[in-house]
Symmetry: C2
Subunit: 397 residues, 2 copies
Amino acid sequence: MSRDELQSLLDDVNADHAEARVVRVLSERGAVSANEIARATGLARSTISQALAELRGADVIVEAASADLARGVGRPAASFALNPRAGTCLGLHLSLDEIKLIAADVSHSVIFEKNVALGRDYAPAEAVEAARVALRESCREAGVAWSSVIGVGLSFSGPVAPDGRVQRASIIPTWAGVNLGEAFGPALERPIFADNESNCSAIAEMTWGAAIGVEDFVLFKIDIGVGGAIVANGRVLTGIAGAGGEFGHMTLDPQGELCRCGNRGCLELTASLNPAISVASRLAGRPLGVDEFIERAAAGDVGCRRLLADTAERAGRGLGMIGAILNPGLILIGGRAALAGEALLRPLIASYERHTLIKREETPPAQRVRIEIAKYPRNHALLGAVALVLRRHGRLS
Amino acid sequence: MSRDELQSLLDDVNADHAEARVVRVLSERGAVSANEIARATGLARSTISQALAELRGADVIVEAASADLARGVGRPAASFALNPRAGTCLGLHLSLDEIKLIAADVSHSVIFEKNVALGRDYAPAEAVEAARVALRESCREAGVAWSSVIGVGLSFSGPVAPDGRVQRASIIPTWAGVNLGEAFGPALERPIFADNESNCSAIAEMTWGAAIGVEDFVLFKIDIGVGGAIVANGRVLTGIAGAGGEFGHMTLDPQGELCRCGNRGCLELTASLNPAISVASRLAGRPLGVDEFIERAAAGDVGCRRLLADTAERAGRGLGMIGAILNPGLILIGGRAALAGEALLRPLIASYERHTLIKREETPPAQRVRIEIAKYPRNHALLGAVALVLRRHGRLS
DNA sequence: CTGGATTATTTCTATTTCGAAAGAATTACG
DNA sequence: CGTAATTCTTTCGAAATAGAAATAATCCAG
């Protein structure tokens, strides 16, 4: 295969030769040994050997600093990663009042990270222009040629349909109906990938976090909203309209309070951090931020601890239902509530146990649900946005 | 490849040549054209052509009566199916007070079907012995050599762990903790496959029913219990302990009535047919059966219709949550309630719409959830049991 | 410090699979 | 009818892949 063909393998999603599959595995996992590549692709070791030789010849991959972590007996395995100079992936997170930027090379190293503040309820065109300027500039500063950008991943705070359209139910009302691919594609002139925030977080956990190598898990996010993502067979279940994993909008009480989504009694109304923070603020005599509240709870403030435990109790009810529906092997707790660690986890697990079908003690260890804190609880959907590009997930154009 | 090797392809799950993959596709789908096989396997048409020639030479496959359904322009495609004489699959459904038997050849034709009544709460050993005797005898009568039986699929009314163990939460209390593979394996001396009833129904719908070719859907069963199954990427999500899809045991009201599963306020308590039938029976002055109740509702009895609609309203609440969590493209309604057709479907869809996040009218048609009646609403998990064997799903030994 | 045990990697050849082109069976249309 | 268009199927040489055996790099035990 020619050098040019090999170097363009990063763009070609559909190619199905040994070389292409090796590149895809490296793109998804970072540094990997030849043996692992063989297992992941299902190809023979000899085939991998040949492919690696060719790819190395074309400077597409490099030998990685061997992570001698589990160094046993026998010849140690060499690790390979994509040549960092072979391309750059950009990520963009669109949140309530700012956009966050990130760039990573194809070997999974972060090159730069940056925030751009915007007014509340900013218009799509504003964000597109701000993103264009900031990305171009940051790339120039970091010495990244725009032509070497493989794609831009977008993380959005709300359901994103498979065609890139933002659903009404999003946090930022001005964006309802906007097609992210059509909005950002012309301005950025690079392939666009997009998914909702929680799905991005799940992908970040799969790529760098607490779910590396896990094919089936659920991410449950507790922050000022409640959301999540479902991963089955190694793929994020986005749902037919991109609304999979919207745990916050399970209707717990059809006669309950009105939710911003237009329904009543959603889980989010009781299980997000908002009610707890309201009460804590009243007691403190001044408005508390999310971080301050969590810090107080983690530090042992009995009031905040109890408020957090009550939140966990209510969230655990929803989580128990998710357990009855999906019976996942691993549930990762994300969102800033997870920063409280055990103070959240203990009452949450207790509540889960009380509300779910299969009880822990009557199940052999291998079939038990593990509930753990995610590695990136603090909104690191941004990392996931860049992983969208690395995994070629949610491609729009 | 030798004739013997080709003929044993049906037993070898792990083989990964063109011939093996062709056999597997035919086993899963029945009669298929060469072109479809190529698409399903991802192999080149020329490879399929060669493989088919070899398999035909070894009498493993036969040319099927060409189902000239969609006969367009151009040369018509020939269909192939596994040679019915190449093997037989048995299925077994273990219900409350009887076991049901079925046999089908590998081309998906049913050979015989039979019920064996047992006392309520029968013991496992009883069922094993009854199954052994009835299956052996029926096979002899039908001229099926026991050695030609590829495997026996078991459908069980309750969660079945991946290792074959029956969970406590099952309908038949005497079976809690029993390992289905260990119980049936020695007596039947054939490979055993097992899964819970609803998962089997889902597989039946995928193989013969309303979900042929659909990779992602949810089956929601409303009968004297409430249950279901989730299919993602063409695979049934069984969950880490086999309790995936247990929609009936979502906790709607933590302070509600006690459920047989040990929790309170489960969906099943309000959304199954039981409450409606109780009221209808009181009004009728005598106990009504499920079928009678459904017939009355379908025939236009206003009381029964309203009771059914109320049930649908309550079930729709649970279904709406499933919609928020999974956002599936297709929801099939199974169980005997589905026999009422539109009388159930209309209020169910209305309730779903009211309780789910993404509303129908604000979604383009391609992203809308379709809610339809399953093809086999009347407990045809039995068909699914035999499909377990055809699809090599849930293998225990 | 040396030889055996263990695991990783490459080499070489046989086999499998692919892609392009030819051939076959049918419908559409003049 | 006959020819063109369309679609399915097979053939055959080229390319990719797998499997077995050889080679390499390390640990471990004496």
